[in-house]
């Protein structure tokens, strides 16, 4: 028996997913972004959330991706990160 076994090549990109620790959590985030990914009726869900959040005293900003088929543009992500303490994304129909 061949005791050395078989050697194959790694088919992956050989990059372990970057470790991303969760962002710090404020007990009460002041400004919350509501991100519409442009799926039908996502706005209905976010409208309801906005009412609830404002009633609790949060600042709310409404944001939207250009299209649900692609990741949010870098500028949008950076902008939300700079202005807001938390983000809520409406994922689907």
């Amino acid at each position: 028996m061949d005791v050395t076994g078989l050697e194959v090549l790694d088919p992956t990109a050989e990059r372990d997913a970057a470790e991303r620790p969760l962002a710090g959590r404020d007990a009460e985030p002041r400004t919350i972004a509501l991100l519409d990914i442009r799926k039908p009726r996502g706005d209905v869900f976010l409208d309801e959330l906005e009412v609830l959040l404002r009633a609790r005293g949060h600042e709310v900003t409404r944001e939207a991706k250009p299209t649900f088929t692609r990741p949010a543009p870098h500028d949008l992500r950076r902008d939300i990160a700079a202005r807001c303490d938390a983000v809520i994304e409406a994922l689907a129909d």
Binding site: M1, D2, V3, T4, G5, L6, E7, V8, L9, D10, P11, T12, A13, E14, R15, A17, P66, T67, F68, T69, R70, P71, A92
Partner: protein
């Protein structure tokens, strides 16, 4: 000046020459193993057992074709050689080193035996070793133990699509890389969702696993380049719950040369290239991009293209038009690959139509049903025209554009029939958009959003329709690439 001889144990010509070399004190190395070499020395009554050419290092360095090989070296550099038995030339070569060989009684001339470096399995191993040493192959090696089943081991490591894969040894990958002139470290594209860089080498590793014929590599590379294109929106295609996956249409002579099927059962089983090219692309998506079903890939149902779906276009004298890739900009004498996000194909039966108008009306009915007849302008489609339908269009002299215009015009429906609630169906056009119920509403955004391809068996009055995913600039657009840069 010194002589160096290379032999092997199972070569009768080596047996003939060895006693003379041994008697003259020539340094002899054997390509064979230790036991065989000792046995040969005993059998021939040699004074000394030849050294071993470990890992065939010298044989490879001097690129031997045959043994026995006697080389004349000057400070390590070769200044002459004789391969096989040639008494006069051997004596002359030895004379230049001041050595006298007793070659009496030997035949004047006899060809040697192939050097072990020329054995196919050994040559493959040596080529892989060179590729690693040169940096052409850089992938991390994965050791699979002797007690592990390689098929199970690769599956358990999450590297397969669930079907058995060909273990991607350095030998197999090196052999496949011979079929492109590109540097194995060239980056073909970055794969969503984790932006993994797909080098030519990584694509070849996955193509080997998929079982691709080596000569299909340029097609796989062009298809990977296409799915990495921004317009294709692979990230969204993976993340969506919609079933679409990348369908690969290959148009051009290379498809025929590597034996792709453009004829009967072209969407089915039995053809290695068709069955593996799409699979190779999907393994790249999985392994390099990180898109795995149930995790990043959120498809509710998926489709055959998620396993791998590729076919060749039939571009023979029966074809009604030039190839799809050529119609989309690839040079006539080049092979092109078109990749489009599509659902599973479905047959359109029309065995009665004999005129192009009637046939297009029939095909348009099926095109209306993509996703649901009620949704408009959101989906593109690809129509795979079968040869018996294609003949009707070809004999009528209808161009690709003429057929697209006809299909576009015939996939209009009155808004009142499409509005939400019409016929008791909740899905449909938002009533706020419908001011005139008679207003015709197109199914497709433009005639050229109905892609036409041509393939299939000679008999059967059928075509196939593939529905698209979210289309156009807001979604995924078909992408066509020439294979030429990857040859």
């Amino acid at each position: 000046m010194e002589l160096l001889a290379l032999v092997k144990h199972d070569c009768p010509v080596c047996d003939q020459v060895l006693p003379a070399l041994d008697a003259a004190g020539v340094r002899i190395l054997s390509q064979s193993g230790e036991a065989e070499t000792a046995e040969q020395a005993r059998r021939l009554g040699l004074r000394a057992v030849p050294e071993l050419d470990e890992e065939l290092a010298l044989s490879e360095r001097f690129d031997l074709e045959a043994v026995p090989a006697v080389l004349l070296l000057d400070g390590g550099a070769e200044t002459g050689r004789v391969e096989g038995l040639h008494v006069a030339r051997l004596a002359a070569l030895a004379g230049r080193a001041g050595v006298s060989l007793d070659l009496q009684g030997l035949p004047e001339q006899r060809p040697g035996c192939a050097s072990r470096t020329r054995d196919p399995d050994v040559a493959a191993r040596l080529a892989a070793r060179r590729a690693r040493a040169d940096g052409r192959i850089r992938s991390r090696p994965i050791a699979i133990g002797a007690l592990e089943d390689p098929f199970e081991a690769l599956y358990e490591r999450g590297l397969t699509d669930g079907l058995p894969v060909v273990p991607p040894t350095a030998e197999r990958v090196t052999a496949m890389l011979e079929h492109t002139s590109r540097d194995p470290q060239d980056v073909v594209g970055e794969l969503a969702p984790y932006d993994g860089p797909a080098t030519v080498e990584k694509v070849a590793v996955n193509a080997v696993m998929a079982g691709c014929p080596d000569e299909a590599l340029p097609i796989v590379l062009a298809a990977v380049e296409a799915v990495c294109d921004e317009r294709f929106a692979l990230h969204g295609l993976l993340a969506t719950t919609h079933p679409a996956g990348p369908v690969i249409v290959v148009s051009g002579a290379l498809a025929q040369r590597i034996g792709m099927n453009a004829h009967g059962n072209c969407l089915g089983q039995g053809n290695r290239a068709n069955s593996t090219i799409g699979r190779a692309v999907q393994l790249v998506v999985r392994n390099v991009g990180g898109g795995r079903p149930g995790r990043e890939d959120r498809a509710a149902h998926g489709s055959p293209a998620k396993v791998g779906l590729a076919f060749a276009e039939r571009l023979d004298e029966t074809a009604p038009w030039e190839g799809l890739a050529q119609a989309r900009g690839v040079a006539e004498d080049e092979t092109g690959v078109t990749v489009m996000a599509l659902e599973a194909p479905r047959v359109i039966v029309d065995q009665i139509a004999r005129e192009p108008e009637g046939l297009c009306a029939s095909l348009a009915l099926a095109l209306e049903s993509v996703a649901t007849p009620r949704l408009r302008l959101a989906f593109d489609a690809m129509l795979l025209v079968g040869p018996e339908h294609g003949r009707i269009l070809r004999e009528a002299g209808w161009s690709r554009e003429r057929v697209q215009d006809e299909l576009f015009a015939r996939t209009m429906s009155p808004a009142g029939e499409l509005v939400r609630g019409a016929g008791g169906v909740p899905e449909g056009l938002d009533p706020r958009w419908v001011s005139d119920p008679e207003m015709p509403v197109g199914k497709f955004a433009a005639p050229d959003r109905i892609l036409l391809s041509y393939a299939g068996g000679d008999a059967g009055l059928f075509s196939m329709v593939f529905g698209g995913w979210a289309a156009g600039e807001i979604g995924s657009a078909p992408v066509t690439m020439s294979v030429a840069p990857w040859m």
